[in-house]
Symmetry: C4
Subunit: 251 residues, 4 copies
C-alpha cells in the first residue's frame, strides 16, 4: 500500500470529474434509480493505470470520496483473487465485484464498469429461465427498438448499433460467491465479443463502456430495455419482431 499521505491524495480532488468524486455522485444517482438498493451493486472507474472502486456493504447513496478503494491495474495478476491496494479504507471491505470490474478493464479496455441489482434485469433473467426448455434462453435478445442505438457495435468497431439490429446480452448463472462469477463472465465475453454487458441470473447485470459517459448511458439504455421487455411480456408482445428491413414507402 502507498504511504498514508499519498494514499489520501489519490482520492482528494476539487475536480467533480475526478473518479473519487464521480463514483459517489454516480452511486447516489443509481440509488434513486433502484440499481444499488440495500448496499447491492457497485461501480468502478479506470484512469490510466489506477482503478477506483466503491466499497462493499456501504449505503451507496452515502458514499464519500474517502470510502473509495484504489489499486494499480498493472500490479494485479489474473484471476485477481489476491489483490494489493494503493488505498484501502480500514473501516470497509473491498468489493467482491472487483475481479469482475478488472475483467472489463483488461479484456475490454473499459474505462468504467457498473454493476446493478436492477429488478428489471433480474426479472428478465427469470423470464428467460422459464423459457429454458427451448434453445437460446441464456441470452436476452431484442430488436427494432430505437433505444438499441444507445449501444456501441463492440470493442474496436466503429459506431453504434442500428434500429434494426438485434441487441444480445448473455446471461450467466449466479454463484454463491460473487468473485466466482469472474470466469463465467470472461467466458461470456469470449462468446459474445461485441457485448458491453452480461446479465447474472437472479442477481443483476454488469455493464461497461469505454469511459464513464458510455458505461453510464449504456447502463441506462439497457435498464430501459429490460423494463420495457418486462412490460411487453405482461402485454403479450414478443421481444423479437420481424419488421421488414426496408424503409416504409415515402408518403
Amino acid at each position: 500500500m502507498a504511504s498514508a499521505d499519498s494514499a489520501e491524495q489519490l482520492v482528494c480532488s476539487t475536480d467533480p470529474e475526478h473518479p473519487a468524486n464521480l463514483i459517489p455522485s454516480l452511486c447516489a444517482k443509481f440509488w434513486t434509480l433502484g440499481w444499488v438498493t440495500g448496499t447491492g451493486g457497485g461501480c468502478s472507474i479506470k484512469d490510466d493505470d489506477l482503478v477506483y472502486i466503491a466499497p462493499s456493504g456501504v449505503q451507496k447513496e452515502l458514499i464519500k470520496n474517502t470510502d473509495i478503494y484504489v489499486l494499480s491495474l498493472a500490479a494485479q495478476e489474473p484471476p485477481y483473487k489476491h489483490r494489493t491496494y494503493l488505498r484501502s479504507p480500514p473501516r470497509h471491505k473491498p468489493s467482491q465485484c472487483t475481479p469482475l470490474f478488472l475483467a472489463a478493464f483488461t479484456r475490454r479496455r473499459a474505462g468504467c464498469c457498473i454493476h446493478t441489482h436492477s429488478q428489471w434485469a433480474v426479472l428478465v433473467t427469470l423470464l428467460l429461465e422459464q423459457d429454458r426448455r427451448g434453445a437460446g434462453s441464456n441470452v436476452f435478445e431484442i430488436n427494432n427498438m430505437e433505444q438499441i442505438k444507445g449501444f456501441g457495435r463492440g470493442l474496436g468497431r466503429q459506431g453504434n448499433l442500428g434500429y434494426h439490429d438485434t441487441l444480445r446480452i448473455p446471461v450467466i448463472e449466479n454463484t454463491p460467491h460473487e468473485e466466482d462469477l469472474t470466469e463465467f463472465l470472461e467466458a461470456a465475453m469470449d462468446e459474445y465479443p461485441d457485448t458491453y454487458a452480461v446479465l447474472v441470473r437472479r442477481h443483476g447485470v454488469y455493464v461497461w463502456g469505454d469511459d464513464v459517459h458510455k458505461a453510464k448511458t449504456q447502463c441506462e439504455s439497457l435498464d430501459y430495455l429490460f423494463q420495457l421487455a418486462v412490460e411487453m411480456k405482461k402485454l403479450g408482445i414478443p421481444w423479437i419482431s420481424n419488421v421488414p428491413r426496408v424503409a416504409p414507402e415515402r408518403p
Copy 2:
C-alpha cells in the same frame, strides 16, 4: 457561423427563462421522468428567428447552456438536411432531431418541441401494432378523459379539447436514421392538421406547442394518457368509451 464572441453571447444570460437556460432545466426534469434516458430524446425552443437545440449524445440531466446549438430559422432550407449553425459546440454532434423540430416550427408555428423516448409512448405504439390487422391502428385514440382538456384544439383554433372529444395522435413507422422521419412526420401533420404530437413506432413521441409552457404541459398530459392507456389495457378497459354526451341528471 457567428464570430466566437457573438456565438457565446447567444447562450449566455442570467435570465432563467432564456432558452439556453430553459433547455438544461427542462432536460434535467425530463430525465427524472424517464423521457430522455441514456441520451435519448431532446428539446428545442424557438425565440423569434433563433432556434436553440439540445445536443446529441449528451447525458440530458447534465446539459449546460454552453452545450446548446443555435441556428437562424430563416437561414435554413427544407428539407433541412444541410444546416448552418450560428453556434455549434465543437465537442458535440448536432441532434438528428433537428429537422423534425424545424418542421414543428415552420409548419405549425410552434415555439417549442419536445422529443421523448417515454416507455409509455413506446408501449402504446406496440399495442397499436398488435391490433394492426384491423383498421385505424396507426392512430392512438382516447376519449372521455379529463386530461384530454390539456390539449389545444389545433393551430389557429380557439380553446382546448373538451372532455368528450376524442384525442387522436398519429403513429409513424420508425426509420433507421432519425432525420429520415422528417417527411413522414410532415405527412402525419398534413393528415392530422389539428394534432400537437406524432408518435414514432418503437421509438417515442414528438410533442410541440405554441410556447414552452404549452409544449411542456401537452407533453406531460400526453405521457399521462399513454401511461393510463397501458394500465387500462392490462385491466381490460377500452380506450374509447361510448359515454352518452348528455350531462348526468341533476341530483
Copy 3:
C-alpha cells in the same frame, strides 16, 4: 377587489406556513407524486374568512405566492358561479375548481381541499365503471386495511376509522365543465355525510380535511389505497374481505 397594495400583502409573508407559501410548496410536492400533471389538479386553503387558491392552467411545480388568488368566503354566494376576488393575478385565470373547493369549506367546514388527477384515482373509477351492471358501483369500498386508519370518522365525529371499518368514497360522473360538478359533489356529500373525499369518474378526486395537515395526509392515504386497489385487481384480490372481527387468538 382590494387595493393593489393590500392585495399584495395578502400573499406576502416570510412564514412558510402562510397559505400563500404553503400552496406552492404543496403543489410542487404533488407534482412529484403525479397528482397535478400538465397543470391538472389544484389546491385551496381556508384561513378564517380568507380562501387562497392555486390558479388554473399553471405548471403546478412552478407556482409562486404571487400566482395565488384570494377571496373572502363570506362575500360569496352559492352556487359560486359568480365570484369576487380580493386578489386576482391578471396574467392567470381563476381555477374552475373554485366552487368545489368552496363547497368543502362551507358544507364540511374544511380548512383545505386538494384536487388530484392521480392515475390511481382514475383507474379505480374505470374499474368501478366496468362493474356497473351490478349494484353499488358508484362507490369505492375497501376494508381491513391499516391505512384506512388515516381517515377521520366524519365531520363532528370523534377519532379515526378503524382497521375493520369499510372506507366508502362516492363516485360522481364527470361533466364537460368542471364548475358543473359542484351540485353533484354536494349531492354526494349529502348522501355520504361522513366522507372526506369524492371521486370524479375519468377525472380524479377531491379530498378535504379540517386543516392542511389532515387534507394532505388523507389525500396521501387515499392515493395509497387507490394504487393498492389497482394492484389487487391485477392480482385477483377482492377489495372487500370478510376477515372475522374477532382478534386472533393469543399466542
Copy 4:
C-alpha cells in the same frame, strides 16, 4: 420526565449521526420510497439505554429533531403498555409502534427498528392470504436471489445469508390497535429466532438490525424482494425455485 432543559438537550446535537437528527433524515428518505405515506410507519433508534422514537400522526417527511420522543429502556417494564418518557413533545402523541420497537430492542438487542406501510409488503401478505388453504401461508419464503445476501443469519450467528438460502419472514395477523400486535410479534420472534423482520397482514412490515445501517439496508433489501415477488407473481414465476446447489460447470 427529565427537566425541560435536560429533555431538550436529549435531542439537540450538531452531529448528523445523532439519533434525533438521523430519524428525521431517514423518515424523509422513507417518505420518498412510499414507506411512510400519510403519517403511516415509523422509526426508532436505541443508543445505549436511550430510545428515540418518531411521533405518531406526523407527516414523516417533515419531522424535526424537536418532534422526537425519548425514553430510558431500563425504566420500562413489559409489556410496555404504560411507559414513562424522558422527553415527550406536548403537541404530539407517542407512537403506537413503541412497544413493538421495544420488543426488537430487548428481545433481539436491535439498535434500530423501522416500520413501513410499503405497498409491496401489504401485497405480499395479501397474496399469501389467498394461498391460505395450503400449509405454510403465514410465512413469506424466497430463495436463490442475490439480494437475500443483504440479511444477517440471525442474532448471535456470524455472517449473512447465502444466495441459495431461503429467506423466511413470518406474517402475523393485524389487530385493530397497533399496540396489541406486540405479543404476536414476540411470538413470531420466538418461532423464527433468526428473522430480522415480521410482516403484518394488510398493514406492513417491522424490520430491525443491530444498528441503523443494518436496519435500513435490511429494510431496503426486503422491500426490493417484496416488490420483486409481486412482479414475479404477475409473470407466473414461483418464489421458491429448485436450482441445484452445485455450482455451474466451469467454462
